[in-house]
Point group: C2
Chain length 195, copies 2
Amino acid sequence: MSRTADVSAQEARLSQAVWDVLAHEGLQRLTIRAVAAAAGCTTGLVMHRFPNRRALLRHARELLHQRTLARVEAIEAEAATPRAALRAVLHQGLATDDEAIAESTVWMGFLAAAVGDEELLALHRANNRAWRKRITRLVRASAPDWSVGRAATATFALISMVEGAATLASADPDTYSTAAQTVMLDAALEALGLV
Amino acid sequence: MSRTADVSAQEARLSQAVWDVLAHEGLQRLTIRAVAAAAGCTTGLVMHRFPNRRALLRHARELLHQRTLARVEAIEAEAATPRAALRAVLHQGLATDDEAIAESTVWMGFLAAAVGDEELLALHRANNRAWRKRITRLVRASAPDWSVGRAATATFALISMVEGAATLASADPDTYSTAAQTVMLDAALEALGLV
DNA sequence: GCGGCTCCGTAACGGGCGTTACGGTAACAT
DNA sequence: ATGTTACCGTAACGCCCGTTACGGAGCCGC
């Protein structure tokens, strides 16, 4: 290889550019040219790194998943108890600061892009099922005497709540503040008997 | 007026076409031509009824709001008690059949389209705040002795949950079934003390 | 130090987009 | 019957898109 290029670093930079455009310009303006501009390069580099636009989106989606996965793993490993892990892991899924709000917006953009795109849809489902499996495991560890059904219902309630709160907050952060989200999560954990 | 055209009926038919395209083709393929094809007419009619594409989207968004509003009002009026009204109104927000799944997908599409579109974003916020106000009122009527804060937190939890569950179910209806959504909502209402 | 290979910027192409202009047609007034 | 007017289909324009082709430039083995 000549003029040694760090391929994976460039791919990560382009994926970051995809996220930036998605968060600030929206899905409609997510074009190759806009991504290239956000990454500070030309369309030549983008098309050199990826065979086409969909491959770029797919890679950005996968990298987003990997990033959140690493964050969640670290948070879970740090927690002292299963219940602390459950709370901390759910809390990171909320949209409680500007970065998290942007991430939630990006997440929603990918979901909207997955309509009519079987590949992105399959990616979403696989990642989301892994997420649900993780929360199920943490709920069961937090309440070992619960039935499978009860744990499953609580899990569904919690991931729906986090998902919905992040969506609501990313579209209207003034109404759904950081504090409100945190209070809401804690109230839900307490109401479900997981504190 | 000659060749009397029912303007509002045509506008509704075009809005329905916007929803169909948004639900089945996705935001990326939501073009004037696709809408015209779905409505069984040409772009000429579309551009005759609306000055431009954004006005068409805005009208479709407003009509979607009006339709859900009418449905919610009817459901609430039929309910015997505030708690029954709360449950029924929240339940209609879930994605429990094909039509509701499509509606949730459309809703998400509009939200994604609102990124970077101040007009659509303002419309979303206004509608969502009205929705939150309604749930707040029903929660307060269901539990009159609660503090304002407790009611607000429960309201936030409930609308987040419904929002999130509808999103999850519309993207993965096999994992998040109709029955699971209903059980989850009832469990949450019971856990919060609203049954 | 030089030939060749890889990297990536430039520029163009075909297609699909939103939008506009225009003309045919159908209903009403007379 | 015929002129008038509103309705809307047709076709075109200019723009921006994804994608491709090409060429200059830097790095490596020799």
